[in-house]
């Protein structure tokens, strides 16, 4: 019975929240429902981690755990609601829960239409969690779409600036990616089993059958990789990201950069690479080149931007490029690094966007040329911003360092010279990152106060502090105790990367 | 001279052609309705004529015409109600003016 599976509740809770919100009468009830739901999700995620580690410690070394209770959805195409998690999904779920929690507090004073905002927000969360818990390709794809669509309204209605354009652009580009993805998934499905056996959508079964013909893999691998790569902001399909993030409201930026972009990396790995190892090995160099460009290119672009959100969006391009880059290295350490980078980037970008949202909410500008000396006026936000910046440029003790170093060391272990040279190219980004981060920090927080009107502004309120502190603690936790996370991930990545050994 | 089926079909055909022409060219809603009636009528004739000439022992064609006449009455009544209503709203029955619900 599926109800006995703890994973299903990651989808049920957001849906219940959705229902609860629909009944709400005023902002107080809306907040109460959102906080209760987000807290429940976080508690459930932590419980899941504990349970997962317990099972692993007890010697359960199946590739996926919590797989009981698959429900048939659509017989002709053999689509199931099949659940299951491995170490990688578990940490991604934990990440999502954290960001949803922080996101709720970051959008505490959402205006207008708070109820509707939170409803879409819940739907988005449903999609995100559903994606991570599914092991059925089609169900994954469905949840993927569920997560994408609310974005259009969230940006289009609650955004700022050129929001209609951005919302449209974001949705259309991601939908374009989905089209590739759909083709890829169907292609895989129709080659999912050796001749004569029933076809399947279940990822584990497809992987163990390993029946996709090599000639087809050459075609389907780019399809799926690009399809997910669009969401992972792979060069040259990244341009939705700067515009989209710049226009999105705070919590949406957080969730989008923090979790949604991770769906791209996760999908690339879970579907493209896991199911088509042959083509992954053969074609990796093309995408390595593209992602390597992403890494450096995004960082250079960020150097000359003047809008805070644009800077972060380009830095996301760079950091997410690093994720895909590491995935394509096809070894355990780099893969672990990629997942750590997803975690780290998710948390610190969410932190960044939260802080930018709070600053923007006060100064009503995001142009760094018009701000300065904010550290004197809002020390809490300033310190938070500096910490986020330091995490982003890879300060040891915060998450960015751990992730980047794992990626670099892992990538450099590759036997091929080409890969190692590209690793060095990617390493260069740490310097450029320092340049743009310090440039912003210097202009925005330090120096003299640019605009005398800013002197009257106030520092963070309690809900903003809570949101910020939650994320900072998470960032520091990964940074200080990386081996806890790294071992969970490594243990999940190892069996998959055996395909390439 | 004998009456052949063709002799009835050709006028019906012309009536139908006129209906098409009228429907496409007229701008007055009532005129369009009139064109519509012409087309309906042409079809009715065809039903009756085919029945009479090819299956004289049966009555399906005739009944079809019969019901079609009934339907035409209903349709016209409703259409005219709409026309009058539209006229009340915009003081006009010219279809070029009725673009409120376009796009």
């Amino acid at each position: 019975m599926i109800w006995s599976n703890i994973l299903i509740y990651f989808v049920i809770i957001p849906l219940l929240m959705l229902g609860g919100l629909a009944l709400c009468k005023n902002i107080k009830q809306v907040r109460a429902v959102a906080v209760v739901g987000a807290t429940a999700l976080m508690a459930l995620a932590i419980y899941l981690v504990v349970e997962f580690l317990g099972l692993r410690a007890a010697g359960n070394d199946a590739e996926m755990l919590f797989t009981e209770g698959a429900v048939m959805w659509f017989e002709p195409l053999n689509i199931h609601l099949a659940l299951g998690v491995d170490g990688i999904s578990v940490v991604m779920i934990l990440l999502s829960a954290f960001i949803v929690f922080a996101g709720v507090f970051a959008s505490w004073k959402m205006d207008p239409l708070p109820k509707e905002f939170f409803m879409w927000f819940c739907l988005l969360s449903t999609g995100v969690f559903g994606f991570f818990i599914s092991i059925d390709m089609f169900t994954m794809f469905m949840f993927y779409e569920v997560a994408l669509i609310p974005m259009y309204l969230l940006i289009g209605v609650w955004g700022s600036g050129n929001k209609m354009y951005s919302a449209m652009k974001l949705t259309l580009m991601l939908m374009g990616g989905s089209a590739f993805l759909m083709l890829g998934i169907l292609g895989i499905y129709f080659h999912s089993a050796p001749a004569g056996q029933p076809l399947t959508m279940n990822i584990l079964e497809i992987a163990s059958n390993n029946a996709v013909p090599h000639s087809w893999q050459y075609f389907l691998f780019p399809m799926t990789f690009v399809g997910f790569g669009v969401l992972g902001a792979m060069f040259p399909f990244h341009t939705w990201s700067p515009d989209g993030h710049a226009s999105a409201p705070t919590a949406v930026s957080m969730l989008h950069a923090g979790v949604l972009m991770k769906l791209g990396g996760y999908g690339c790995f879970r579907i493209a690479i896991f199911l088509m190892p042959y083509a992954a090995n053969e074609l990796a160099w093309i995408f390595l080149t593209l992602t390597g460009i992403s890494v450096v290119y995004g960082a250079f672009s960020a150097c000359v931007q003047t809008d805070l959100k644009y800077i972060n969006a380009y830095s996301s391009v760079s950091h997410c490029g690093m994720v895909l880059f590491a995935i394509l290295m096809l070894n355990t350490t780099a893969m672990t690094g990629a997942v750590l980078q997803m975690l780290s980037h998710g948390l610190m970008t969410a932190l960044f966007f939260a802080l930018i949202g709070m600053i923007y909410g006060r100064t009503h500008t995001r142009d760094i040329r018009k701000m300065g000396g904010l550290m004197q006026i809002m020390p809490f936000l300033g310190v938070g911003y500096v910490i986020a910046g330091l995490a982003s440029l890879g300060l040891p003790g915060l998450s960015g360092f751990v992730a980047e170093m794992t990626i670099f060391v892992g990538s450099f272990q590759h036997a091929d010279m080409f890969h190692r040279v590209f690793t060095i190219v990617a390493c260069c980004s740490i310097v450029i990152t320092a340049v743009y981060i310090l440039r912003v920090v210097g202009k925005l927080l330090f120096g003299a106060v640019q605009d005398e009107h800013h002197r009257t502004l106030t520092d963070a309120e309690w809900h903003e502090r809570l949101s910020t502190v939650t994320l900072i603690l998470a960032v520091a936790a990964i940074g200080c105790f990386p081996n806890f996370f790294s071992s969970i991930i490594t243990e999940a990545a190892e069996p998959i990367m055996k395909l390439f050994a | 001279m004998e009456f052949t089926i063709l002799m009835y079909l050709v006028p019906a055909m012309i009536m139908f052609g006129c209906g098409i022409y009228g429907f496409i060219t007229r701008k007055n809603m009532i005129a369009i309705l009139i064109s519509l009636e012409l087309m309906l009528n042409a079809v009715d004739i065809n039903f009756a004529v085919f029945n009479r000439f090819l299956f004289p022992g049966q009555m399906e064609g005739m009944f079809f015409s019969l019901f079609a006449i009934g339907l035409a009455a209903a349709e016209t009544a409703l259409a005219i109600a709409i026309v009058i209503n539209v006229y009340r709203a915009v003081r006009n029955v010219d279809i070029r003016q009725l673009t409120k619900m376009k796009f």
């Binding site: - | 063709l6 079909l9 055909m13 496409i24 005739m62 409703l78």
Partner: protein
């Protein structure tokens, strides 16, 4: 060989149909167009009488010429100033209409004459259909009975009446 009277009647009917159809769709004055339509309807009824469907012809006159035309005339009078001329046709509209009508008619006529070997068959004589049979058929539930469509039509008419009232009612 038909009687001369019926031949003359046929030609009058055929010519009336053709001429008044054309006039009904080309006339600039809407009231005249309605009148031409009335003539076409009468002519149609004539065809029904000629081929022996007296009941159908009667219905045609009663419903169409009697009922529908009255509606037309009333609505025209309600919505038009007397004597108003329809605006001149734009050229492209004219060509649009003509092309569709001529093309349609052309294809139909071509196929009528090309495959019309059975089309030239005579009117069968063995024909006796009376009002009694029609009445039986209309209200029977047998194989060739029409009770269901009959009732359906009556419900439809009722719905139409209600609908008409609702739509046209003053708010």
């Amino acid at each position: 060989m038909e009687s001369l009277g019926s031949i003359i009647a046929y030609f009058i009917i055929a010519i009336a149909i053709i001429v008044f159809s054309v006039l009904a769709v080309t006339s600039g004055k809407i009231l005249r167009a309605a009148t031409y339509l009335l003539f076409v309807l009468f002519a149609t009824a004539g065809i029904y009488f000629q081929i022996g469907y007296e009941f159908l012809g009667a219905v045609q006159i009663a419903v169409y010429a009697g009922g529908i035309m009255v509606l037309f005339v009333f609505s025209i009078l309600l919505t038009h100033k007397p004597g108003a001329n329809a605006p001149r046709l734009e050229n492209h509209k004219l060509w649009l209409g003509l092309s569709a009508a001529v093309l349609g008619a052309g294809v139909c006529l071509y196929s009528l004459f090309e495959y019309g070997s059975m089309m030239v068959s005579r009117m069968p004589d063995n024909f006796d259909i009376n009002i009694h049979q029609i009445g039986q058929a209309l209200l029977s539930t047998d194989k060739f009975g029409y009770l269901l469509p009959f009732e359906a039509i009556s419900v439809l008419l009722l719905a139409c009446i209600i609908g008409g009232v609702v739509i046209a009612r003053k708010r």
